[in-house]
């Protein structure tokens, strides 16, 4: 009897906990959606009320004013190239560092991870100089390489921690079978650490998708610019049209959510089965 009471208390607590965070997480989404159907006047005067009349003009403005389609394609190219590039170099490094013994490996590792702390705004002057010297100013490549680089610390950190947790025996067996160094990387370690890869890939993609300051600093024409700059068109020197901006944000969120739901979720869900085999 007592045990049952205990069990149902836990159950209730569990759901209270889950639903509380659910509500908190859902709030911004509702706020965005509701506001995006308001007029600017309604929003300015009564930010928290429901719209008097639900109107879709903001969405029309968003697509029209911000030239969203070009920027959208640029964002997709830039964010996905940066993610692939970032995963490739960080996974190679994480593999070498987590699975091999050599001098300096801990120092290299610590230095790479310390990059997490760097306040990126401090780097505006050197980054602009670097990109100009590489001849990449106002190219998509400038953003790809910058985004891939800025996310090195986080991705390396995550992927390394996943790779470290793979049992040594698996690899030893492979070495016995005559697997070479790169084969161990591609055949054993990469597949086993895909939870880490997709997690850091998802985070890098979303970061790159949302990045604003460097997108503005390192480019000058809308041919190579990203969607976030389109959103900022609604905010000018003296005035911000937030409902239209929110409509643009709603539209631009969709790819990030898709990446999360279809890419990350699918792979993570498939893990349990994979892990049993391992």
């Amino acid at each position: 009897m007592n045990r049952n009471l205990w069990k149902s208390t836990i159950r209730v607590l569990k759901w209270v906990f889950l639903l509380f965070f659910f509500a908190v997480a859902l709030l911004p989404l509702l706020w965005l959606l509701v506001t995006s159907f308001k007029t600017e006047a309604e929003f300015t005067k009564f930010p928290l009320q429901l719209p008097h009349l639900w109107q879709i003009q903001n969405y029309i403005d968003a697509v029209h004013i911000a030239k969203m389609h070009i920027l959208f394609i640029n964002s997709i190219i830039i964010a996905s190239s940066a993610t692939i590039f970032n995963l490739l170099i960080t996974s190679m490094a994480a593999f070498a560092i987590s699975r091999e013994e050599f001098r300096l490996k801990n120092s290299i590792s610590n230095i790479l991870v310390a990059g997490v702390l760097v306040p990126i705004v401090a780097f505006m002057v050197p980054y602009l100089a670097l990109i100009k010297n590489l001849g990449l100013y106002n190219t998509r490549m400038a953003l790809v390489i910058t985004y891939a680089a800025i996310n090195i610390p986080i991705s390396f950190f995550l992927i390394r921690s996943f790779m470290t947790s793979i049992p040594k025996e698996l690899e030893e067996a492979a070495i016995m079978d005559g697997c070479s160094f790169p084969q161990r990387y591609t055949k054993i370690i990469l597949p086993l650490s895909r939870a880490g890869l997709v997690t850091s890939g998802t985070l890098t993609f979303i970061w790159a998708w949302n990045e604003f300051i460097y997108a503005l600093l390192l480019t000058s024409s809308s041919r190579v610019r990203t969607i976030q700059l389109g959103i900022s068109f609604f905010s000018t020197q003296f005035r911000s049209n937030y409902p239209a901006m929110y409509a643009a944000i709603v539209l631009t969120m969709i790819p990030s959510i898709l990446v999360y739901v279809f890419f990350h979720d699918k792979i993570i869900s498939g893990l349990t089965a994979g892990a049993v085999k391992g």
């Binding site: 005067k45 998509r140 490549m141 389109g230 049209n241």
Partner: protein, 426 residues
């Protein structure tokens, strides 16, 4: 084997994506030869009120000088990042061909180094007649003029005539004792008297109020006095009163620009302070308030001057120095074109902004009635002083908001408020 094959393909594809279109795309701009290209990182884009007029004028200019000069607008949709990008470019040694800046004491640093085109001779050769002498004098340091005044601002006190009538107030109070009486009457009918804010980059609305107060206390030369002068404490006492006894909304402390304007538009407050750029916003979002808004000068402090206005040069045009005479010439040609009376007039009418180069409205021009009131406020002013933010270094201006927080919350006396500003100077 299969996996490494896939991996190799992935690498090759990546390499192609990365090196091919990505690099090629942005580099086309250097293609056309002979023609001088001027890059203009520009904030007047997107939904900005000046955007379409500026874009049209640039297009006309490019058509007129086809094959000789081409002005390329680099859209800079964030005002906040704009200053930082320009600074990063200057630090890196590549000053933009054309750019805009604000007039503050820090602008001296730009004059002191050889990074801007010096327009002194061009202005002396006739171009200078397009401007008021006093305006040009203000941007001339050591007899050099390296920036062209473009947008000017006047920031009078705005008030809602209907709410004043409802509260039984006859006209806008001329002195502070009358002002506090009027405030009490507004509170009696449930209206918060003034819109204020301590947040944002420089506590904008309240910083303007402080400038009005200081103009009345200190007269036309108020900003020539050092912060140690007791008049600044005297001004802070009035500012503190504006934040006490429900004279402003509670959320003014920490509030950004949306707070004071939102309250004024929703008729929760009756008095506001801002420049002509706000006309478009109020006309669209609160037409009923727009119709009953009147402009005035701030009340006079006891024994102080009355009828002063706060006005200043809002935006200047500048051009990065270059060794190429053709490029310098092209930049001057373009800036002259921008300041032509018909172009200036067009931008002014479309955006509601007041501009520095001389021009006159004709009877046929559809000038906004509120904009006309701004021009009148400027004409009727007994004298005009700059705003606080235009006369002190960025460090002091940044401290204004935090110091005002403390003043308003009772954590700092007016003396301590001024002391905080002084300390920020170091």
């Amino acid at each position: 084997m299969k996996k490494s094959l896939i991996l190799s393909i992935a690498i090759v594809v990546l390499a192609l994506i990365v090196t091919g279109p990505l690099v090629a795309n942005g580099q086309k701009e250097a293609a056309a030869q002979k023609e001088v290209t001027l890059n203009w990182p520009c904030i007047w884009v997107g939904e900005d009120a000046k955007a379409s007029a500026v874009a049209d004028i640039v297009a006309q200019f490019n058509a007129k000088y086809e094959g000789k000069i081409k002005v390329v607008i680099e859209e800079m949709p964030s005002y906040d990042v704009y200053d930082k990008k320009i600074l990063a470019q200057i630090s890196g040694g590549t000053v933009p061909d054309i750019f805009t800046l604000k007039w503050t004491p820090d602008t001296r640093d730009l004059y002191d180094s050889d990074i801007l085109v010096d327009f002194t001779k061009d202005l002396a050769a006739g171009w200078g007649d397009s401007f008021d002498k006093s305006v040009l004098n203000e941007v001339t340091l050591n007899s050099q003029t390296k920036t062209i005044p473009f947008e000017i601002a006047i920031t009078p006190i705005w008030y809602n005539k209907t709410l004043f009538e409802k509260a039984g107030i006859q006209g806008f109070p001329k002195t502070y004792p009358e002002f506090w009486d009027a405030a009490a009457k507004l509170k009696a009918i449930g209206i918060t008297p003034t819109s204020q804010m301590t947040g944002g980059a420089n506590a904008w609305t309240s910083m303007l109020w402080y400038s009005h107060i200081m103009a009345s206390i200190g007269g036309p030369d108020v900003w020539d006095k050092p912060l140690s002068d007791p008049i600044f404490v005297q001004g802070a006492e009035i500012l503190k009163k504006l934040y006490s006894d429900g004279n402003t909304t509670k959320d003014a402390i920490g509030g950004g620009p949306a707070i004071p304007s939102g309250h004024y538009l929703a008729e929760r407050t009756a008095i506001f302070c801002n420049g002509p750029w706000f006309i478009g916003n109020i006309r669209k979002n609160a037409p009923e308030v727009y119709k009953v808004t009147e402009l005035t000068s701030a009340p006079a402090v006891p024994g102080g001057k009355s009828g002063a206005q706060v006005g200043f040069i809002q935006t200047l045009l500048a051009s990065g120095a270059t060794k190429d005479p053709a490029k310098r010439e092209a930049a001057v040609t373009f800036l002259k074109y921008m300041t032509l009376p018909e172009n200036v007039k067009r931008i002014s009418i479309e955006s509601g902004a007041l501009l520095a180069p001389k021009f006159t409205f004709s009877a046929n021009d559809k000038v906004d009635p509120l904009q006309v009131k701004f021009v009148e406020a400027q004409k009727n002013a007994s004298f005009i002083v700059s705003h606080f933010a235009g006369k002190f270094s960025a460090s002091v201006v940044q401290e204004f908001g935090p110091a005002l927080d403390k003043l308003a919350l009772g954590k700092a006396t007016p003396q301590e408020f001024v002391q905080m500003l002084q300390d920020a100077n170091n």
